[in-house]
């Protein structure tokens, strides 16, 4: 447990002390919650405006979770590799699984922190949600799936993109492009049919739609993502990405030449 806690503490402190990490994971989504809440709502009735703000807050929270997993984790791994810390740790009696667990748990804590902040700003801006406690609990499971999928992708980027800037930019780029193409940052209804298909397959956008469906309603999600097959597929793909990321990290980042 000592190694996991040590890695957790180190990683979370690094996340919280890096301005670029704070900006892209928390600041950027909050800016979009503010812009979205006050610019895109027009003269719509108050209730619709409030639920729209709710949907925007959820999307931006998801965007923050994606950035945390896909950009912060690879950036953190690449930094440790580039400055020789991974070499140093590999020379010590440390298990790669514990190192992985420490990083992932730090990412989880940081992601929860960022998600809570983004949603809190949404509330302050007048976001409204409509849900039962069961819906809320189910939403938490979908948030966890987004986290798991993003972390898996992030571990893959961190494993194979060797340089810090390359790893961070790959993560940010993939986050922005995939969020735009899959309906996380654009309404599902406005996507062309091929991208609507992608939005249902991509586990992160599928989980995003599920949360929006549960917390705000079907009209804001654009469709009903809570079919048994889609839930199963989303969970399966998210977990698969996580496991692939885990295996790649422990096999290749810790590989002796």
């Amino acid at each position: 447990m000592g190694q996991i806690v040590a890695t957790w503490k180190k990683t979370i402190k690094e996340f919280l002390r890096q301005k670029t990490v704070l900006f892209w994971t928390i600041g950027w989504p909050i800016i979009w919650v503010l812009i979205g809440s006050f610019s895109f709502t027009g003269d719509a009735p108050a209730d619709i405006v409030a639920y729209t703000r709710g949907a925007i807050s959820i999307s931006m929270m998801v965007f923050g979770l994606m950035t945390a997993g896909m950009a912060n984790i690879p950036g953190n791994i690449a930094q440790d590799r580039e400055r020789g810390l991974l070499t140093k740790v590999m020379s010590m009696p440390v298990s790669p699984w514990r190192d992985y667990a420490g990083r992932i748990l730090a990412l989880l804590a940081f992601s929860v922190f960022s998600a809570m902040l983004v949603i809190a700003v949404g509330f302050v801006c007048g976001a409204k949600f409509f849900f039962t406690w069961t819906d809320f609990a189910a939403s938490l499971v979908f948030i966890l799936l987004i986290f798991v999928a993003s972390a898996g992708i992030g571990m893959l980027i961190g494993t194979f993109v060797k340089h810090v800037h390359g790893a961070i930019m790959s993560g940010v780029g993939l986050t922005v492009v995939s969020a735009a193409l899959s309906g996380v940052m654009t309404p599902y209804a406005y996507l062309p049919s091929v991208l609507q298909d992608f939005a249902r397959i991509y586990p992160i956008s599928s989980a995003n739609s599920a949360i929006t469906f549960l917390m705000v309603g079907e009209e804001y999600a654009g469709y009903n993502p809570l079919t048994l097959s889609q839930i199963f597929f989303t969970a399966f793909l998210a977990l698969l990405l996580f496991v692939i990321g885990l295996i790649a990290y422990s096999r290749f980042c810790w590989k002796k030449d």
Binding site: G2, Q3, V5, K10, R83, G84, S91, P93, K256
Partner: protein, 313 residues
Amino acid sequence: MDAIQGFAVLTYNVTKEYGKQQVLKKINLKIRRGEFYALMGPNGSGKTTLASILASVKSASSGRIEIFGKKPEDAKKVTGYVPQENFSSPLLTGKENLMYFAGLLGYSKTKANDIVEGLLKKVELWKDADKRVSNYSGGMRKRLEVATILFPGLKLLILDEPTTGLDPSARRKFLGLIQELRNEDTAILLITHIGADADLASRVGLIDKGVIIAEDEPEQLKGNSGLQNVVNIETSIKSDKVATLLSKFSEKMKVMETEMGYRVFTEDVEKATPKIVRALDEIGCKATRIETERPSLEDVFFKLTDRPVSEVD
């Protein structure tokens, strides 16, 4: 068996290949417990690769390695390795960095606190313990990183080029710290390309192109080289013409180019020095500084390989 127990490191015919390139060629290295051994060689000679293999970060292509009688991967608990890079996290304080390593080594928080305090005092960073490493100087950062191998129980300390990039004052302070680490039980392997650093060791191995070409006590190496005196000249210009001229005075071996001038290897320094100054003057080159020195380990390396241990721009 007793003999084997007396060794911290034993390697038998260790080779390392990257594709067709052979980086290490049948290295047989013996470092005794309590010994301070310096492995000196130029960039690309294989010294860092050998250190990485001993630290279990890389694996050998063939050969056998024993660290206190165990395979390197089974000896991680007793091996402390400081890689060449500045691996400490600049976003954490000095104390937080060491607490991280204490956690990795499995110490409880209370125990880790006590040990880390002691280590920070030992490397003279206690006053700066709560400053972020990004505010440390190069020397402070290196001392902090050396502290990561001073945790109790580590018996083989491997330091890869620890003084590279340090200013002379920080370098001296750092070398003083390494001297303090010497004790009967702990073996030190210092990887370096600086002769003055290697001079501190009880034994030095000179490595070139993946082969240990000479190995002995520093003074023995210098004595066996046949070199007696060196005239170290700083010149106003450096050119082939100057080098050719000076080579006439270098009886023992060819002239070695340095950053600021040349090193001339001659026996009768008293006689040769005024002649050198005059000869340089005649071709319009000023000798801005002349010193007579004892041969260094760099000179020995140069004599054995015909190449300087550090490349000159």
